[in-house]
């Protein structure tokens, strides 16, 4: 207990190491999820290649080597952990929400607005990711044509004959929301740990995010093309 003797008397409440672990966990889960998301988008992007042949091969690979069976629950776990850790940082009580909102409006500061966006996208991701996961799990395995038909789903027709392709809209929004949260989330983590100059790093991350979003948008377009090519759902490649 030699060291404990040296510890100064402080008026601080003592926290032990919990706060450190929580902070590390938030950053680490964040980085893992950004990695996951970017990888995921690259995988989805393989739809470009050979009209989805590589896409299917990857999907089969994930299945065959049990990567999906382990990976999906693990990712879900990391997401839950991240929600739990990062959520504590967000204003939770109504009173705090109001203060945060008013302050953001008053100081009108770029990074603070970006963070407000992060809080909002976090909520949306919580909802969207559950829906996405549900869709994937109930239609397992992942196949290019199956996915393509889902994206190209014409949707419910309104009375004017006008229809809303809800899956396409869902994926488009999910893409934007997810990448926003990932890009700025990573920015925030790096700002906090201070390894890079913040403004340059911001531009690099914005660049990466735009590229990923382009891949995503392109992939959505490719899916609609694949769906046209194979008009019968479940049709072999």
């Amino acid at each position: 207990m030699e060291l404990a003797k040296n510890l100064q008397k402080t008026l601080n409440k003592s926290y032990g190491k919990t706060d450190l672990y929580v902070d590390l966990a938030e950053s680490i889960t964040g980085i893992i999820l950004v990695g996951f998301l970017w990888m995921h988008m690259l995988f989805v992007g393989t739809i470009y290649i050979n009209n989805g042949a590589l896409f299917n091969a990857l999907s089969e690979g994930l299945d065959k080597y049990y990567l999906a069976q382990i990976g999906i629950p693990a990712t879900v776990l990391v997401i839950l952990l991240h929600i739990f850790m990062a959520g504590r940082r967000a204003p939770m009580r109504l009173r705090d929400l109001r203060i945060a909102w008013r302050l953001s409006k008053m100081i009108n500061h770029y990074d603070t607005w970006v963070w407000v966006g992060q809080v909002i996208t976090a909520l949306l991701i919580g909802i969207f990711a559950s829906m996405h996961l549900w869709t994937i799990m109930t239609t397992w395995p992942i196949e290019a044509v199956k996915s393509a038909h889902r994206v190209a789903e014409p949707g419910v027709a309104f009375w004017g004959g006008f229809s809303i392709p809800y899956y396409l809209i869902f994926y488009a929004i999910f893409l934007l929301v997810g990448e926003y949260h990932a890009g700025f989330g990573l920015y925030r983590i790096l700002v906090k740990w201070g390894w890079f100059e913040r403004h340059k790093m911001g531009w690099v991350l914005k660049g990466i995010t735009v590229i990923i979003i382009c891949i995503g948008v392109g992939a959505l377009y490719m899916f609609t093309q694949v769906a046209k090519m194979y008009p019968h759902a479940g049709g072999a490649l």
Partner: protein, 249 residues
């Protein structure tokens, strides 16, 4: 032609029975070199002698006159009206206790901070009046001077979402202050001791990274660097202590 300026100023005197918070407007014609220091004094001396605000050095050295000018925390003394629109809204800093109108009690807040973070040199060496000073590299002295430049105006605290919603958070100024001592070879505190002070959510791990503090610091102290330095240092200390099997209270 000179602009007509309108100052919309927050008014409330907690010591006056029945007084209610309100915004009050004053206007006059702008003139060359007009600062918020000159403007507020003009209002007090010529229009409304009850208006409360704080100025001391009027040279952006003492940190007394921080207030929210058009939503941003600024040192009023160095804020030129020429850089503002003709309608200027002035509010007291949030977080700090209101004394009256634009005057807030930063003194008590910062005093508590110094005591809470034990912001002074901790050493067991006894000062020997006959000895030479302990040598130090000039570079280190310059590095210490950088965070030491903080004037404790409270702008970083006022713009920090975390400080606004969590009373115990010591803000960028507090973390910067402690990191100044971490950089100082004369302070003999161990990592474990610093960890005890700022290795928690009220200190280094509490920052969410919104950087309004760094962007709006009137002294342009590199707060992101200081905050990240403290966070890394505290994380390393915490992990090292963990592996060394040391329990922190």
């Amino acid at each position: 032609m000179a602009r007509q300026l309108t100052f919309s100023i927050f008014r409330y005197n907690p010591n006056k029975p029945g007084d209610k918070p309100r915004m009050q407007e004053y206007s006059f014609e702008e003139f060359e070199g007009l600062t918020m220091f000159v403007a507020l004094n003009k209002i007090r001396e010529e229009m409304d002698p009850t208006l409360m605000f704080d100025f001391v050095c009027r040279a952006a050295i003492c940190g007394s006159c921080a207030m929210m000018i058009n939503g941003r925390p600024r040192l009023a003394c160095k804020t030129m009206t020429i850089n503002l629109p003709s309608r200027i809204t002035v509010m007291p800093l949030p977080v700090f206790k209101l004394i009256g109108d634009l005057s807030v009690d930063t003194g008590t807040w910062f005093r508590n901070l110094q005591v809470k973070t034990e912001s002074w040199i901790h050493t067991n060496k006894k000062f020997d009046p006959n000895a030479l000073e302990v040598r130090m590299e000039n570079k280190i002295a310059e590095q210490i001077y950088e965070p030491e430049r903080c004037v404790e105006c409270g702008c970083c605290v006022a713009t920090c979402v975390t400080a606004n919603i969590r009373e115990d958070f010591i803000g960028a100024t507090g973390i910067n202050r402690v990191s100044r001592f971490m950089m100082d070879p004369r302070d003999e505190r161990s990592d474990a001791e610093y960890y005890e002070v700022v290795g928690n959510e009220d200190g280094a791990f509490g920052c969410v990274g919104l950087m309004a503090c760094a962007d709006l610091c009137p002294m342009e102290i590199p707060l992101q660097t200081q905050l990240a330095y403290a966070r890394r240092k505290m994380a390393a200390a915490g992990l090292k202590l963990q592996f060394a099997g040391v329990k922190i209270s």
